[in-house]
């Protein structure tokens, strides 16, 4: 059996267990809706367009937050590897922030930035910045010294060495960081949309919870997971493209 077949079989077993659990009657169908009901809700929501609307809204937040986090991580990471003296000033603070869960800042963010998009995006930035920062810093710091000496004997300037040797050496680590960061961005969507959202996948789940619609909660969870996988796949293909010289 190939990979896809095995994955399908695994999901099939999961669905069967789920169905059996429903039929056992231990939980009421309020708490644990049968797969068929979830599938039905899914089709209804996809059909009338609400699901797509939520996906798009969340997607925009995730990508905005991810983009900002990536830009910041790139700047901080390059500075940390290129000008370590400067890094000493902000490194300690970053190290501190890294250990603070973003959700713990929600109260303050609402006070400072209100309940608009800003606070939501900051949550996503905080969640995805650190994995990217750490990977990017590692990538730029780990340029091969032997290759840098090659640049030296060809008389390259500092800037040329950066563009032609350090950056290509860093690309694989940067891409890995971006891939992890994107995953963290998606995972932060619930936290972000806990702040007075009116749409989005996080809102969909939280709203369904208020309405005791477990089937919709599950639809939201499944959608987040699938969109996350899709984004990750796209990235994986990108990474493979960039590192194709290694496998060939």
């Amino acid at each position: 059996m190939n990979r896809v077949g095995k994955t399908a079989a695994g999901i099939g077993v999961l669905l069967a267990v789920w169905q059996l659990a429903v039929m056992s009657g231990i939980w009421s169908t309020y708490v644990l809706p049968p797969p068929s009901k979830v599938a039905n809700s899914f089709l209804v929501m996809a059909g009338n367009g609400t699901l797509w609307k939520h996906i798009l809204v969340s997607m925009r937040r995730v990508l905005t937050g991810f983009g900002i986090a990536f830009s910041l991580a790139l700047v901080c990471g390059i500075v940390a590897s290129g000008l370590p003296k400067l890094e000493e000033y902000y490194g300690g603070f970053l190290e501190f922030m890294r250990h603070v869960p973003p959700i713990s800042l929600i109260a303050l963010l609402i006070l400072w930035f209100g309940i608009g998009e800003t606070s939501k995006i900051i949550i996503i930035v905080l969640a995805s910045f650190f994995p990217m920062y750490l990977n990017i810093r590692k990538g730029f710091a780990s340029a091969d010294r032997k290759l840098l000496e090659v640049g030296e004997v060809f008389g390259l300037s500092r800037w040329q060495k950066f563009c032609r040797i350090i950056v290509p050496c860093a690309v694989p680590d940067v891409l890995v960081g971006m891939r992890i960061g994107l995953g963290y961005s998606w995972r932060a969507i619930i936290g972000a949309e806990m702040i007075a959202a009116a749409s989005g996948l996080g809102y969909l789940i939280l709203d369904a919870q208020q309405m005791s619609r477990s089937d919709r909660v599950i639809v939201g969870i499944i959608t987040i997971g699938m969109v996350g996988i899709l984004c990750d796949r796209i990235f994986q293909i990108l990474i493979q493209r960039c590192r194709s010289y290694e496998n060939k």
Binding site: L147, E149, V150, E152, V153, F154, R164, V171, Y245, K248
Partner: protein, 261 residues
């Protein structure tokens, strides 16, 4: 090129280690000068000093090219400010190929060549032919054999048309046959391009096969020199003259070992 009283020491485990002590030597700007010595005698250090990758404690490396002599004060980097880079262009080939894994053979060869430079393609084609890498210009280093990678490194060094080639045991990692092949190719390249070559090795056979001059580096200085300019290529290593020189070189190095004990 002349080297005057070159000194270099390292701090190893808290102790001062004099690697080069008042080294004096001369290398012909159009010959193949081979520096021969035991492992750890400072061959790589010497080459790195000449290439400007390391700074000397004292002494000078003086380039004499054409009519006017160009002086490179110790410690000052070639390719830095001033006219030194224009005066003597160095091509360096390290012990390992050190190719950029993300570049194709063609791009690796042209690494040191200015993008705006005219006739890049022409130069590339000539070098590919010279090093026998035609047909592999689109391959990545990971797809080349060790010898092919080393030839790519040779082509890369030749691509910016250096006046002088510095080679640090470039063929040490190759098998006997590839090594012989590469030595022949080097001699061919040298004949066609008429460049000065400084070749570092610990193999006496290799030194005898390619050198127009052999310098024995030992104890931080130049112990003895042999002139082989009269021996034509390809050389027969069983030639009585060469066998005699080989014996003498072995004696030189072993004698030194005995006085040390």
């Amino acid at each position: 090129m002349r080297i005057n009283d070159l000194c270099k020491s390292y701090q190893v485990a808290g102790r001062r280690l004099d690697v080069l002590k008042n080294l004096r030597m001369e290398a012909d700007n159009s010959g193949i000068t081979v520096v021969l010595g035991r492992s750890g005698c400072g061959k790589t250090t010497l080459l790195r000093l000449i290439a400007g990758l390391e700074q000397a404690d004292s002494g000078q490396i003086i380039w004499e090219k054409g009519t006017g002599g160009v002086r490179v004060p110790s410690g000052e980097r070639l390719g830095g400010e001033g006219g030194q880079a224009a005066a003597v262009r160095l091509g360096v080939i390290f012990q390992e190929p050190r190719l950029m894994p993300w570049l194709t053979t063609a791009d690796n060869i042209l690494f040191g060549v200015d993008k705006k430079e005219a006739r890049r393609e022409e130069r590339l084609a000539r070098l590919l032919k010279l090093t026998g890498l035609e047909g592999f210009e689109k391959a990545y280093p990971g797809q080349l054999s060790g010898g092919m990678q080393q030839r790519t490194a040779l082509a890369r060094a030749l691509a910016c048309d250096p006046d002088y080639l510095l080679m640090d045991e470039p063929f040490a990692a190759l098998d006997y046959f590839t090594r012989r092949q590469m030595q022949k190719e080097l001699v061919q390249v040298w004949r066609k391009e008429k460049k000065g070559v400084l070749f570092v090795t610990h193999s006496i056979e290799e030194a005898l096969a390619i050198g127009t001059k052999i310098i024995i580096l030992d104890g931080g200085g130049c112990r003895k020199e042999y002139d082989l300019a009269d021996h034509a290529y390809p050389r027969d290593l069983l030639d009585p003259d060469l066998v005699y020189i080989k014996k003498d070189i072995i004696e030189q190095i072993e004698e030194r070992e005995e006085t040390r004990l």
